[in-house]
């Protein structure tokens, strides 16, 4: 039934949503292909086998990207994830050394991360006035501090028995298990954010927290869940990191939070909430990983790599903005 005035409203999305070919994800895919070609040209060692072998360390960081994307969508931020990784890795190493079987150790690592995430979530949902930045900054100091206390004066722990963790680092052909796990989790996180009511509520909260609350979304519960998941994922990251490092120390997970945030924002996820897609974050993660591996193989100074990443980060957002501005200017001129 149309309204009294007989107006009808269209449900055709064509005019209002951009097609894939004008989306940011498409730009990222192009960039991904370009960077792989570029790396292949500059280094003859840039082969699938080598790239996949070098990848696990970066792949385990991607466990942090997924929940970080959720947190950014909510308009929050969590800078304690690196420290959570450190604490979980430490605790799981000690658990392993205490003779727990690998299954139990993995569980302990996950639970440690979960506990950290839940504490963040609890503080943030009880004291809603506090910005996530300051809360997670202090818990970052605390979690790493606790890891330091557990690690003691040596500052480092190594696994007595590496067999369990080595199994985690196993491969199917060229592909490490980790690769499949990242892929599966990536798909799950992407589908949840794009297709489910929970995912929609993330966007709603990030766009207008108050309106979301009035619409019956349990804002604080969603935030609590997301921060808890983030902690658990940091635990997972820690477990896989341990399977490549065979131990933990006080610098484990240093800077992971910034890496995860960089991957997400480069992927088009707005740092103020409510905008962006996880798929973009995943592609951008692979762009950054491939670039780092490729440039590492020609032994480029890591500081120069950082400069390149910095320029890429800014110009990736700047370039389309400038081009639309120029287009608008032209249109205005043309009209006159």
């Amino acid at each position: 039934m149309a309204g009294r005035s007989g107006r009808t409203i269209s449900t055709d999305r064509k005019r209002y949503t951009k097609g894939f070919f004008s989306s940011w994800e498409f730009v990222l895919v192009i960039l991904f292909v370009a960077i792989n070609i570029f790396c292949k040209i500059i280094s003859q060692n840039y082969t699938a086998a080598n790239v996949l072998r070098e990848m696990p360390k970066y792949l385990s960081e991607m466990f942090l990207l997924f929940p970080m994307a959720y947190i950014l969508l909510l308009g929050d931020i969590d800078i304690s994830v690196g420290a959570t990784v450190c604490l979980s890795a430490t605790v799981s190493c000690f658990a392993s050394n205490a003779g727990f079987p690998i299954g139990a150790v993995v569980l302990i690592g996950l639970l440690t991360g979960l506990a950290c995430g839940m504490l963040n979530g609890l503080i943030l949902t009880v004291f809603t006035e506090l910005p996530a930045m300051i809360v997670t900054l202090s818990t970052m100091i605390i979690y790493r501090g606790i890891a330091e206390i557990i690690l003691g004066s040596g500052g480092s722990v190594s696994l007595n028995d590496v067999s369990g963790f080595s199994a985690l680092a196993g491969m199917v052909g060229l592909f490490p298990y980790l690769f499949f796990l990242v892929l599966i989790l990536g798909v799950v996180f992407t589908i949840v954010s794009a297709k489910t009511p929970f995912g929609r509520s993330l966007y709603a909260i990030g766009s207008n927290r108050s309106a979301a609350f009035y619409s019956g979304i349990k804002v604080q519960r969603v935030r609590f869940i997301v921060f808890s998941i983030t902690g658990a994922m940091a635990g997972l990251c820690a477990v896989f990191l341990t399977s490549t490092l065979f131990g933990a120390n006080t610098t484990t997970g240093n800077g992971f939070e910034m890496d995860a945030i960089a991957m997400a924002v480069f992927g088009g996820i707005s740092a103020v909430g409510g905008k962006g897609r996880l798929a973009g974050g995943i592609i951008s993660a692979f762009i950054i990983i491939c670039l780092r591996i490729g440039l590492g193989e020609i032994n480029m100074n890591p500081q120069v790599i950082l400069i390149i990443l910095g320029i890429l980060l800014i110009s990736a957002v700047l370039a389309p903005n400038i081009s639309t501005k120029i287009k608008e200017k032209k249109q205005v001129l043309a009209r006159k």
């Binding site: 060692n45 360390k57 004066s153 040596g154 696994l159 490092l245 193989e297 032994n299 890591p302």
Partner: protein, 342 residues
């Protein structure tokens, strides 16, 4: 023994600048040698890499220098992985963590790459040999003697270390504590080990805290380059009676070294990082050429370095090591000559 060390090192200083002639049978032609330091942006690490590169190129090899962006184990893991992809012949590494590199380094060794470490060792399972800058015991002894000497044999003293987790620092502090058990040092009282995390600001805070907490403090010993220069500045600015010793870079410490009341550090120690790099290079070449297997008792030529030929000895951790020499003492007599070297 201090005297002998001095002659040793000053000789080495000349050789580090002089070209090292090629040694027969030690040629590195056609081979690729990689050095991975602890982190970028540190002149000490740079000098190690410089010595390493000098020798490798002298011997006709290709040298890859890698400084990780941060002093963490996982940055080094990525670098090792990248070097495996590049199929280098040897990796020489100053480890940021004793154990964390095990998986990657074993992977490297399995791929036929020779692995040695220098400056800061990995565990015995992930290396063939460790090039030690100076025996841990010797460093402990030298520092303890300096504390004894400067304090006049008795009184309170304190240590300002880097992080509480720094492997080298902890080993040297442990060695000092062992030495201190001797009856000669019974009147010395170690009041605290403070940690400045290798940050100038925190080291400054910690030094100031030590001064106000222990009014009777006589000597401060800082076995870390950032800590010692921060502490030296605090003491010197305050015109404090407390004196300082430890391990530091001559270029950083030149302004503070002197025996008069205006200077806070009568003398300090270090070894020559350029030589450490050179010895690592010779070690790598020998490993790649098969003249060295890393077993105890092996000997190998290190060009015209002073102590050449060097001998592989047992290390405390059950692995093997090669010791460069004793630590070298820097005081007002020689600091000007060294401050421009490193």
């Amino acid at each position: 023994s201090g005297n002998a060390a001095a002659t040793n090192a000053s000789g080495a200083a000349e050789s580090s600048n002089a070209a090292t002639s090629a040694v027969a049978g030690a040629s590195a032609t056609g081979k690729t040698f990689a050095i991975v330091t602890k982190s970028a942006g540190n002149p000490y690490n740079e000098k190690e890499a410089e010595g390493f590169q000098q020798v490798i190129e002298q011997q006709g090899g290709t040298c890859i220098v890698k400084h990780p962006e941060a002093a963490t184990a996982d940055a080094q893991v990525s670098m090792i992985q990248s070097l495996i992809s590049q199929k280098v012949d040897s990796i020489s590494i100053a480890a940021n963590d004793e154990n964390a590199l095990q998986a990657s380094l074993q992977q490297a060794m399995k791929a036929g790459i020779k692995v040695s470490c220098f400056d800061s060792k990995t565990n015995k399972n992930s290396r063939q040999v460790f090039v030690n800058q100076a025996g841990t015991k010797e460093i402990g002894q030298a520092l303890m003697d300096a504390v004894y000497d400067i304090s006049g044999g008795s009184g309170d003293w304190a240590i300002l270390s880097a992080t509480s987790q720094a492997t080298n620092q902890n080993a040297w502090i442990a060695a000092m504590k062992t030495v201190m058990k001797g009856s000669k040092y019974s009147k010395l009282n170690l009041v605290e080990v403070a940690y400045g995390d290798d940050e100038p600001q925190k080291s400054t805070d910690q030094t100031q805290a030590l001064l106000s907490k222990y009014p009777n403090l006589k000597v401060l010993c800082s076995p870390t380059t950032v800590g010692i220069s921060a502490a030296a500045k605090v003491l010197q600015d305050k015109k404090s009676k407390v004196k300082l010793t430890g391990l530091g870079l001559p270029s950083e410490m030149a302004a503070y070294i002197g025996t008069d009341a205006d200077h806070s550090c009568p003398y300090m120690f270090l070894w020559n990082p350029v030589e450490l790099g050179q010895l690592s290079a010779y070690t790598s070449i020998a490993l790649v050429n098969g003249t060295l297997t890393g077993m105890t008792g092996d000997t190998f030529d290190a060009g015209n370095m002073d102590n050449s030929p060097y001998k592989v000895v047992d290390a405390a951790d059950g692995g093997t090591e090669i010791i460069l020499g004793a630590p070298f003492k820097f005081d007002s007599s020689n600091i000007d000559e060294w401050k421009n070297v490193y």
